[in-house]
């Protein structure tokens, strides 16, 4: 049963990632500015050089043949060559993934810890003041673009990585608060409290396990949200990560780089979602 489930996830993962790559390539190929290249505006270039630049796109005109060649090369570990940055895509990704991963890891960990801690406080100490303060704090952070917080932290020499946490925390807080409040009304929790168990024991033994599957589902989604926020942060605060690379690739209409990035991003998101799906299944089984 488990092997079948893993095989299904794997097949869905591969298919989704490949189609996502194709969507990325299609968007780039059929974008009205595909043939345009900022270099062509350079007044120092003569007609032949401009024609050569124009011809450099020729291999990418046939989308399907480009994608088939790309996948063939990818199978042997070659992700192509970035035209705009004049470096192998694989090298660029390896170099920049570390920066983005660190940014995301700090942001996600910080956001989740803060969100869960505040949700627990709001549910355990149910006073109007606590509820109002936590709700107001979470709402405020939902109202400001994350990039503005990042800029503020950047220019005050603060921890820019924490800007992502400020985006994740209100989402986690709202969801977790509702879940925890719901869990506290469950019969098994009421029974545990009636039997005189300590608040800490009730919380960690009876409330948290009840909410774990839903929280894991949110964890799967939060990676995509965090990556979406990382793009403007990396661009504005000059973080040499994947988000900034995507921005540069998009501006330079660098098809091989964009397709590789789309595949990497889709694969990472799919992997997280699959991992959270599997964890949810394990949790539900344990609960039964």
């Amino acid at each position: 049963m488990w092997i079948g489930r893993i095989a299904r996830h794997l097949a869905a993962f591969v298919l989704t990632t490949l189609i996502a790559g194709l969507i990325g390539a299609t968007l780039v190929r059929f974008g009205p500015g595909f043939e345009a290249d900022e270099q062509q505006l350079d007044p120092r270039l003569d007609a032949q050089s401009i024609q050569a630049l124009h011809d450099s796109h020729s291999q990418e005109r046939n989308l399907l043949s480009f994608y088939a060649h790309f996948l063939g090369r990818m199978a042997s570990g070659d992700l192509g060559f970035s035209r705009s940055l004049a470096r192998p895509v694989r090298e660029l990704l390896a170099e920049r993934a570390k920066v983005t991963l660190r940014l995301l890891a700090t942001g996600l960990a910080g956001g989740w810890m803060l969100g869960l801690a505040l949700a627990a406080i709001a549910v355990i100490f149910r006073t109007p003041l606590v509820e109002m303060t936590t709700a107001a704090a979470s709402s405020f952070f939902l109202c400001v673009p994350t990039a503005v917080f990042a800029l503020l932290l950047f220019f005050t020499n603060g921890p820019v990585r924490f800007a992502i946490a400020l985006l994740i925390f209100p989402k986690v807080f709202r969801y977790a608060r509702n879940l925890l409040a719901d869990a506290y009304t469950q019969p098994h929790v009421l029974t545990a409290r009636a039997r005189g168990l300590s608040e800490a024991r009730v919380f960690f033994w009876h409330v948290v396990p009840w909410t774990a599957p839903q929280l894991l589902a949110l964890a799967g989604v939060s990676l995509g949200v965090a990556f979406g926020a990382a793009i403007p942060i990396e661009v504005l605060c000059d973080f040499p990560g994947i988000g900034q690379l995507a921005w540069k690739a998009a501006l330079a209409r660098d098809l091989p780089l964009l397709v590789s990035l789309t595949i990497v991003v889709a694969a990472a998101t799919q992997l997280t979602n699959s991992a959270s799906d599997m964890a949810i299944a394990v949790c539900r089984r344990e609960r039964r």
Partner: protein
């Protein structure tokens, strides 16, 4: 709570009204440059000072608010309609069609929409006109942001398909489009409306984020996104606090939306 809700609605209505009547309240056109007053501080003549090109910030804020506040709901409407069409039909038909649509939704959700948007927006021709950039920015937001709403609407349609109401309709011989558009879609109205309202602040913030990295609405047209670009120089904002006006308006409007949304959630 009702009072707070009325205040939020009142603020939103006032901001909407002011921006719609920008032609009356703005002392100058949004693109007009006062060359003798470049980077002028806030004064009686220029309420929020002028920018580095000598344009009146107050006028630009009014026109920018109009663009952001009119087009975000338009994008939300487009994305919700797309979601109803795709998610509603998938939930209603079920079977293979449902599986395919679910897979497509998964694909769209696996790529952060801002990343997709970045690709599409940056691929526009270099000579895209400002007006075309406004329309394309919000059109693409609407067309790329439907997936999460479609998933929820699909779930709603699926549960309705198995409801007594639809069973009765089927028993009375109602089939096909009539069943979908007369019995299922009208009953999805609360879910659809909720998705529409949720999408508006998302698109407002989306445009602001894109504007901050220079991929939103094209200059000289103002929008909250490109007005916020001035904050990329916080030292200037620190010494000229009136530069924070677009951010303050954005936060106020978003707070009102968030408050009204939480009220809807609470009522539901």
């Amino acid at each position: 709570m009702n009072r707070a809700r009325n205040i939020a609605i009142g603020i939103l209505a006032a901001v909407f009204g002011l921006s719609l009547l920008a032609n009356l309240f703005a002392p100058a056109p949004y693109a007009m440059q006062f060359r003798d007053f470049v980077n002028a501080p806030a004064s009686h003549q220029f309420w929020l000072g002028t920018d580095e090109l000598g344009r009146d910030r107050w006028s630009r804020l009014l026109y920018g608010t109009r663009i952001s506040l009119l087009l975000a709901p338009a994008a939300a409407l487009l994305s919700t309609l797309t979601a109803v069409l795709i998610g509603g039909v998938a939930g209603y038909l079920g079977g293979w069609w449902d599986r395919i649509v679910l897979r497509v939704i998964d694909i769209f959700l696996s790529i952060p929409w801002i990343f997709l948007f970045l690709i599409v927006r940056a691929l526009l021709p270099l000579n895209t006109s400002p007006l075309a950039s406004v329309i394309l920015t919000f059109l693409m937001m609407g067309l790329l942001g439907w997936a999460s709403s479609a998933r929820i609407i699909r779930a709603g349609a699926q549960s309705l398909r198995q409801s007594d109401l639809v069973l009765h309709a089927r028993a009375c011989g109602v089939r096909g489009g009539r069943l979908l558009f007369v019995h299922i879609v009208p009953n999805l109205k609360p879910v659809v409306l909720a998705q529409f309202w949720i999408s508006i602040p998302t698109f407002i913030l989306g445009e602001a984020s894109l504007g901050l990295i220079g991929l939103g609405v094209g200059e000289p047209l103002p929008s909250w996104g490109n007005l916020l670009r001035e904050l990329a120089n916080p030292q200037a904002a620190w010494s000229h606090p009136w530069m924070l006006a677009p951010l303050i308006v954005l936060v106020i409007v978003m707070s009102c939306f968030q408050f009204l949304l939480s009220q809807r959630e609470f009522a539901a």
